[in-house]
Amino acid sequence: MKDNKVIAVKNLTKKFGDFLAVDAISFEVKAGEIFGFLGANGAGKTTAMKMLIGISKPSSGEATVAGFDVYAQTELIKKNIGYMSQKFALYDDLTVRENITFFGGIYGLSRATIKEKVKVLVAELKLENIIDQLVGALPLGWKQKLSFSVSLLHDPKIVFLDEPTGGVDPITRRQFWEMIYHAADKGTTLFVTTHYMDEAEYCDKVSIMVNGKIEAMGPPKLLKERYGASNLNEVFLKLARGSKPNE
């Protein structure tokens, strides 16, 4: 399993008029990997991810996600992936249980499966007291953990996380990454976009996007060595200023 490529992208491009939002990017992600998709705001991360999750058509290039083509098989892709957006999109006016039931339902889980999932989640996340509370009343950290759990409900092969930790405190971020590791241990592939470079250190492999192009890719340790930097933030700054790797 470990060597299966679950995401394979070759020269994927997205043009808006004359503007090249994503410029011929290529990369591969293996099963069970945590892939950090880094870049500044506006570098093209979100646009690239939208093509992979089937809500935006590429202008050119090739890509397969979970073995399905992003042009012709978006419906199959959608069944096999989970998605968590940067807005922690659960319904505020629904209770935790209602949210889980609803999202389980639209992924076609049976009522019995959903009940079982609720039980597991209550035990894992210690939700006894809040399961029947409105989501709107919960702190941001809770919403975010729930949102992640909901994206995992249907046991997807790959989960796409779009800036999942924006605006939460460091402790909650730490806990959140533990959840991500836990999911990766079970064989789920995680595709995470972020602009927190310290978080990127937790990834198995990162790619750094600048102006629509992938400028560097590899395990964090390797990148730091190649650019002679003590952390990824330095690597990122060097790339953003347009410097080349140390020879």
Binding site: K78, K87, D92
Partner: protein, 368 residues
């Protein structure tokens, strides 16, 4: 199907838990229909009038009695001199003064002609107009009654019959209008807001990434509002039948079918608005400015289309509400069947398909 029911249930949670939308959904229709029915009545009732009777003979007294005994007027006072007229209007209570010239009865008999001067308070032109019409018709009736006793030259008699609304109740005009406004409001505004809400909160993205197809998402959002709009239409019809004694001459089934058609037209408009609007605020503004105002001003609900300038008359044709008002007036008041309203029905169907077509097209562009 099970997914779909789950979706609809979720939508009902949203509606049920948002007290504001609950109020718009059910408070508004009832409040509006009662307001329009009771408060904003065009017909006049016990309007205070004053007489300046300079003749004080049998004829003027008979005419005054006729006016006083009608339920439309009550006598505020008798004036003594013409100079008092202005003062009485400034006080504000008296809405019209009826002035009989000197020797009214005598002139009428001898010369066959006598004059009544009618002065009305036209600060409110509509009321002034109705008052003069009512008074004129009372005078005319009197004219005819005396002419009948005289065998004289040829004369033309008019017999008026106000077809379909003999008592000229304005409620008969308002009910179709209010029903139209409310169905439009609930269907178009509420759906566009609720779809825009999903976009604003980012949940729409999650739904689009899920295996649900876009049309299933939209359908799931729309179905609850179809049900609620139907309930609303039923409430309005019941209120108008039982409280305002409005007749339903035609078939209730036809009325129901046409209402559902109009609900669909409004919903498709709501969907179209939501493809443009990114936030709830924008959706609300577009619905209010783009739908409510034209419906109130140009649909013929309050202002007759026939008396508008030609450009506005032409514009009124693209307003779905205009056609629906024609349809319900036809069914409720005239009792007509499909044979008379097929054209309006076809226009509404055409508009619905057109709106859905553009929405789909716009949606595809967004996906590219």
């Amino acid at each position: 199907m099970k997914r779909f029911i789950g979706f609809v249930r979720k939508e009902f949670y949203h509606i049920y838990r948002d007290k504001r939308s609950l109020f718009i959904l059910f408070g508004m229709p009832i409040a509006q229909i009662l307001l329009f029915g009771f408060a904003i009545a065009n017909e006049i009732n016990k309007v205070e009038i004053a007489f300046l009777d300079q003749a004080k003979d049998a004829t003027t007294i008979e005419i005054i009695n006729k006016m006083a005994s009608s339920k439309y007027f009550s006598i505020n006072r008798y004036l003594a001199a013409e100079s008092e007229v202005e003062g009485v209007f400034k006080e504000g209570k008296v809405k019209a003064v009826i002035n009989f010239e000197k020797d009214f009865g005598e002139k009428l008999v001898k010369r066959g002609k006598a004059t009544i001067q009618l002065v009305a308070d036209a600060t409110d032109p509509n009321t002034a107009n109705s008052i003069t019409n009512y008074i004129l018709s009372i005078v005319q009736q009197y004219n005819q009654s005396i002419n009948l006793h005289q065998v004289g030259g040829p004369q033309v008699l008019t017999q008026t019959h106000m077809a379909f609304n003999p008592e000229l109740k304005s409620v008969f005009m308002f009910v179709p209008g209010v029903m139209t406004i409310i169905l439009m409001l609930v269907s178009a505004m509420m759906t566009s807001i609720s779809i825009a809400k999903e976009k604003e909160l980012g949940t729409m993205e999650i739904l689009l990434v899920s295996p649900l197809k876009p049309f299933q998402v939209i359908l799931g959002k729309v179905v609850p509002y179809i049900l609620l709009s139907i309930i609303n239409a039923i409430i309005i019809v019941l209120l108008s039948i039982f409280i305002f004694k409005m007749p339903v001459q035609g078939s209730l089934i036809l009325l129901g079918t046409e209402s559902v058609l109009f609900i669909l037209t409004s919903l498709s408009l709501g969907i179209l608005i939501s493809t443009i609007a990114k936030t709830q605020q924008t959706a609300m503004m577009i619905s209010l400015m783009g739908l409510m105002l034209p419906v109130i001003l140009l649909s013929g609900f309050i202002f007759p289309i026939g008396s508008m300038p030609l450009p506005l008359q032409i514009i009124s044709n693209i307003i779905p509400a205009k056609w629906f008002i024609l349809i319900i007036k036809g069914i409720m008041l005239k009792g007509v069947g499909m044979a008379f309203i097929w054209k309006e029905t076809l226009i509404l169907i055409g508009m619905t398909l057109f709106f859905i077509g553009i929405s789909t097209y716009k949606y595809k562009i967004r996906l590219e």
